[in-house]
Symmetry: C2
Subunit: 146 residues, 2 copies
């Protein structure tokens, strides 16, 4: 079951400049940074609020690290902006199987590593009214079946 | 001060179909619907979680009601997808003045009426790294100065 807006993924050309925009404009601070080689992104997580399911909601700022990454291709086509949205769940495996069973294309056979040790998968935007949608189970949440 | 992700605004061609997608796929239920004639949209709010500032985070599904509305024009250009993101604050007037003072273009001289009796304004996406950004004070939160 999806229990929170986990994050909004925002693609940018320059992570440091964009982090500074969010800090200077709104006072949002960096909670975590990492490079995800598999996804081809350098990212910063800005924590905005805690959520009623024991998790939190973040902005995830994404800068591509290589030109063949999906985010680099997306930026070349669309320019900077909202790249995806992510819903949090205690059990990404179960929810991915559930939505796959309903005919929504799930982009990974098995969840992959996301921010801060989370496990993530993506749903095809064409099956989700144009919204690239991520499902995420954070590392802090133990999923009983896995 | 911005204290939560208030909502993600998603533009769609057909509100009923999109509401049904979110219900059938994820179990998200409609919390509120309304028509905002000024904005030229029919909308549904799907509540996803409560937030640590006493508010909540929603998906806001938006269908244009007339062809000259900003959402209709946006849909014609971009197709369905994430139209804007909104941060919640107890005092939209103060935060709008603050970001205006930092050189970000605020689209309204005074906040206007948003979903569920809230007061909202928008920031120019070109000043926000491509993200159309809304600031919102919900009707339930009393702002001491206004």
């Amino acid at each position: 079951m999806l229990t929170r807006i986990d994050h909004i993924g925002i693609a940018c050309h320059d992570l440091d400049t964009t982090v500074e925009f969010y800090r200077a404009t709104y006072g949002f601070e960096v909670f975590h940074t990492e490079v995800n080689e598999e996804q081809g992104v350098r990212e910063a997580m800005l924590k905005i609020n805690d959520t009623s399911d024991g998790g939190a909601s973040y902005l995830q700022l994404l800068e591509p690290t290589r030109e063949d990454s999906t985010v680099a291709k997306w930026l070349a086509k669309n320019g900077e902006g909202v790249h995806h949205i992510a819903f949090g769940t205690a059990d990404v495996d179960a929810d991915a199987a559930d939505v796959r069973g309903k005919g929504v294309r799930v982009l990974y056979d098995e969840p992959r590593r996301g921010s801060m040790g989370s496990r993530i998968t993506f749903l095809h935007p064409k099956d989700c009214h144009g919204v690239l949608t991520e499902l995420v189970t954070s590392a802090a949440v133990e999923s009983p079946e896995h």
